[in-house]
Amino acid sequence: MLTLMDNLDTNERIEQYLRGTLPPEEQLEMEARLATDSSFRAEVELHRQLHEEFADPKKLQLRDLLTDVLKNPPPPSPANYGWLKWPGILFGLLLLGGLGWYWLAPDPESAQPATQEEIKSIPPAKEPIATQEKDNTPTEPIEKTPEHPIAHADPAAYTPNRDFENRLGSMIRSSNGTAEMSSPAMGASFKAENGVVKINFRGTAPADADTARFPLALKIYDNRASSGKSLLRLLPIISNRNASNGTWAFSSAQRLRLRPGLYYFTLERQLDEDLIFVGKFRVK
């Protein structure tokens, strides 16, 4: 079985060959092997195709853009009513003006200024921390979140993050089935008590060789996350391999100090950060 170092060496050689930077004697060895070993030839060809396809960043961005537009399609183009255009605009302006005058006209019985009791106070910004419940959860170090508030209690805190929205659900590719989260439900809302929400991240993943080899990591992001920078990184316990349906169960019970807003979480293989599941929840 090939080790990591074997693979590293093979990848390096293939990449040097494709760049034309192999030393002459190694170049000859490579070409001799390509001439006789059809599976190696196919492997090198795959690498060449990958390099060719991903060399242009704008093409990749175009694919992402198209995926996004097709998932959130615009309304169809309006029919051509050009002859109605200017009268229609004039009518619309008059209507808006009339409504605005009606709504904005001063009311003789104007409301009293808000009292101190009516002004809702926003909890002071505190560094959000994750505390683990007292059970057999792992003692792996937990990343601390930055000191500034994660999200403010404003509408922008609930704006969907397109990147995550496009990937919601199970990402795992396995003939054994898909990863499933039994908790939290997709888009579930949690009410913070004294700024703390209790969430139990629980689910199952196919018990294939990869899941056994690479333990899982749970990452939590706010809706403005970019460049993969997570707020928190946790290590759920993997347990209960079910031989009858070939799944692993995992769980992580958390008490999280989070501001109101929309949050996303990813379940990944710890070693290579391969995505298994993307979910979201709200904090009220």
Partner: protein, 186 residues
């Protein structure tokens, strides 16, 4: 937006222009596909693939837009859908032209390459975010030292190891896809 600007929107990745193009031209593509045994999702696939094909054509120095953009797009979509259906039915297939658009069959497409590149893209986007960013930088030919700095890695050696892990995972995802065996070239 004028049709000629659709092509520059594709080349420059202008979201607004591409959105307008979709709103204006997708209905005809949907009609083409749905009238010939396909679904709305098939139509979206065909549309997306056709736009990528046109992007690739526009990169060639000798490319010239000699017909209306909508005719060109329709022609590529027409070829794509016919090729896909032929592949499924294993027989020759004729798809009638839309009354408004006449398919231009002179724009050849390489269906195998299109499907293969789409599989590559899907596999890349299945990776963790750090792996995606790392591999994108690598395929854009940044040096390991530049990649290490961009990713915040401690050393070039670590960047090399992570790159190899991510690339192995990408290749594994591609090879494990049910469609991959058919998409390999000899």
């Amino acid at each position: 937006m004028k049709e000629i600007n659709y092509l520059s929107a594709i080349v420059s990745g202008d979201r607004s222009g591409i959105t307008q193009m979709y709103a204006a031209l997708f209905p005809a593509i949907r009609r083409l596909v749905q009238d010939n045994g396909g679904s709305e999702d098939d139509a979206k696939d065909v549309f997306q693939d056709a736009v990528i094909v046109l992007y690739e054509k526009a990169q060639k120095p000798d490319f010239q837009l000699t017909s209306k953009f909508s005719t060109l797009l329709y022609g590529v979509c027409h070829n794509l859908w016919r090729s896909r259906r032929q592949k499924k039915s294993n027989s020759e297939l004729t798809i009638p032209d839309d009354a408004k658009y006449i398919a231009d069959d002179s724009h050849e497409i390489d269906l195998l390459q299109i499907e293969r590149n789409k599989l590559f893209y899907k596999a890349l986007r299945h990776l963790g975010k750090d792996c995606q960013i790392l591999l994108e930088l690598f395929f854009q030919k940044l040096s390991m030292n530049e990649i290490a700095q961009a990713m915040g890695f401690a050393s070039e050696g670590y960047a090399r190891v992570r790159k190899s892990q991510c690339k192995d995972r990408l290749v594994e995802l591609i090879k494990s896809d049910a469609e991959f065996p058919e998409l390999q070239t000899a």
